[in-house]
Symmetry: C2
Subunit: 209 residues, 2 copies
């Protein structure tokens, strides 16, 4: 399989952490790409009209996107441990809806952070709109507060919910260190300190700024 990727993308990281946890990492070859919203990467667009990274080319040559579809595909290729099946949940673990809901929450935080980044680092300075930045960062803050409420219950779970939350927090550390989210999110910080030590997380850390 081939993954269009950038080391800075939290959505790519989610897929690579998932692949690593499923024992599939060695089957994925990385192809550098960019997902710039204005200067669109034509080699990537030829595979995925949305020009997103991650985009996965399967062993059969099909282009799969976006990150949620890729993670579910990898989960099905592997042993299925990252996303519980639907239907009655007999075990002690989280339900499918809990895990997918956490992924949606973390994806939403990442989306808002990336839109903030586009506003402050890509858009010409004279065209930036402070109210937009405030609105997107409010999404991030409200999302973090929700993660903090969940953090005491995350325990040692390793699934697409916790992986997504960890990738969102890692992206905030990478691009929004000034938010200093740990000051308000003590339970999340304690949980993330443990989770970030996993081999899958250490191997996918974004580059130094």
């Amino acid at each position: 399989m081939k993954l269009y990727y950038a080391a800075t993308s939290p959505f790519v990281r989610k897929c690579l952490v998932s692949a690593h946890e499923l024992g599939l990492r060695e089957h994925i070859e990385l192809t550098p790409a960019t997902a710039h919203p204005v200067n669109r990467d034509r080699a990537l667009v030829a595979q995925n009209p949305l020009g997103q990274i991650p985009t996965l080319i399967t062993a059969e040559g099909a282009a799969l996107y976006d990150s949620r579809v890729i993670c579910e595909y990898l989960n099905a290729l592997g042993d299925g441990r990252l996303i519980p099946p639907s239907g009655p949940n007999s075990g002690p673990g989280p339900t499918r809806w809990t895990v997918l809901g956490e992924q949606a929450l973390a994806d939403g935080v990442m989306d808002a952070a990336i839109l903030t980044r586009y506003e402050t680092a890509v858009r010409p300075e004279g065209l930036r709109w402070n109210d937009w930045i405030v609105g997107q960062l409010d999404k991030v803050h409200c999302g973090l507060a929700q993660i903090e409420r969940r953090a005491p219950h995350l325990g040692n779970r390793v699934d697409i919910g916790t992986i997504s939350i960890a990738c969102a927090l890692g992206y905030l550390d990478f691009r929004f260190a000034s938010l200093a989210w740990r000051g308000q999110q003590l339970a999340t910080a304690a949980w993330f300190e443990r989770f970030a030590k996993r081999d899958s997380m250490a191997a996918t850390r974004p580059p130094a700024n």
Copy 2:
């Protein structure tokens, strides 16, 4: 169940069309909400920190989001006809990855269209960036071209892939009539003309502009 909704949102429409097709529509009560990116709806944010519509409150009182999670939940509550299970695909229909990939494509087109709408209708005029609009509309156009390549194979399928594509096209008709997408997308136009006649689509048409 209760759905935070606006009649103008294509992501809400995707959920309502799905509910209708699954025979679950009558079990969902609608609560009007707005998902303005700057003036965030606090009643909604209390249920979903991302402030998104759709947000579904289940019969058990849990808040589910975003639209993909809601549609999969409804599919599991119903008879499962909208999303094929993973695993070997023995039938003649599309695979899970085809259907989920089409949903991701259509969601990406809707996201790009909504970002364009925010830029041209919400952001103060002096702060608009033409390159951003061009980039987002290129996503829409490349997405439409991909839909056009798929259109001859969509047949009479009714699943989360075709529902998502139909909601994306309906949103373009609603907010971007000037794109006149039918001129370049003849197979898509023929398919959509049939699909849009379904009761589920007719019942969820956005209001006149």
